[in-house]
Structures are given as C-alpha cells and as structure tokens.
Symmetry: C2
Subunit: 80 residues, 2 copies
Amino acid sequence: MKARVHVSLKAGVLDPQGKAIAHALTSLGFTGIGDVRQGKLIEIALSGEDPVRARAEVEEMCKKLLANPVIENYAIELLP
Amino acid sequence: MKARVHVSLKAGVLDPQGKAIAHALTSLGFTGIGDVRQGKLIEIALSGEDPVRARAEVEEMCKKLLANPVIENYAIELLP
C-alpha cells in the first residue's frame, strides 16, 4: 500500500518560494499568472494492508514529522 | 482557473531527502515504512478560462522552469 501526502502552506502564510516561481514565470514571458504556492508531495510505501490503520498511521506521521500544523495543511491519499 | 503540478523524481533517481524522511519515521517508532520519495507540489492561479490552452501553457512552464525533465516526472491537474 502507498500513501501520498500533500503538504501545502495555509492560506495567508507568506510563500516566498511561490512568489519566486511566479516572478520567474512572468520573466519567461508567461502571462496571466496569479498567485503561485509551492508545497511538498511525499510518497510513502507502507507494508500494512488495512487502509483504516494506514490512514491513522500516516495522520500521526504528518502531525509528528511531515507537516507543521501551525502553518501547513496536509491531505492524505491512499493508493492500493 | 487553477493548475496543480506534481513534480516527482523519476524511478531510479536517488532521493536523499526521501531517505532522510524514511529514516526519521523509523526513528520515531513507525514500522513497516518502505521507500519514501519527496516531490514538489506547485499550485498556479491562471487568468485564462480555456482548459486546453491552459494545459498547453502549464506543460510549457514545466519544461522551461518547474521540472527538470532529465530526472523528474510531472503531472498536471486542472481545477476549475
């Protein structure tokens, strides 16, 4: 079983990396670029097969290590 | 319109950041952790409303700036 975790900055938190990307895209000639936000995508291979337990475990991983709940949101997606 | 770009390292490309996460998770007491890969998640707000044109434009952005096609894969998802 595989878990995919999307970690992104909460709305309102300044994202300098996103701003840099937006600026670079505009410099390259792309038009109509609005807000750009950069987050993380973490894929974890898990040995268990129980999706309920896997989700609870990944939730725990997010809280303890993968995301900073003060400034980041996370979303967990389980793949078979 | 919003585009979400997932950039991940190609299979076979060494991912030290992923290895560090796997090691940290194991140190925290999580068991059954297999391969961990870390990628990027980029969300771009676009002013256009034509999904075909938007996809072509984001594809171009990926090739020129957002991803390194030699070692990275990218996937584009358009959100209304």
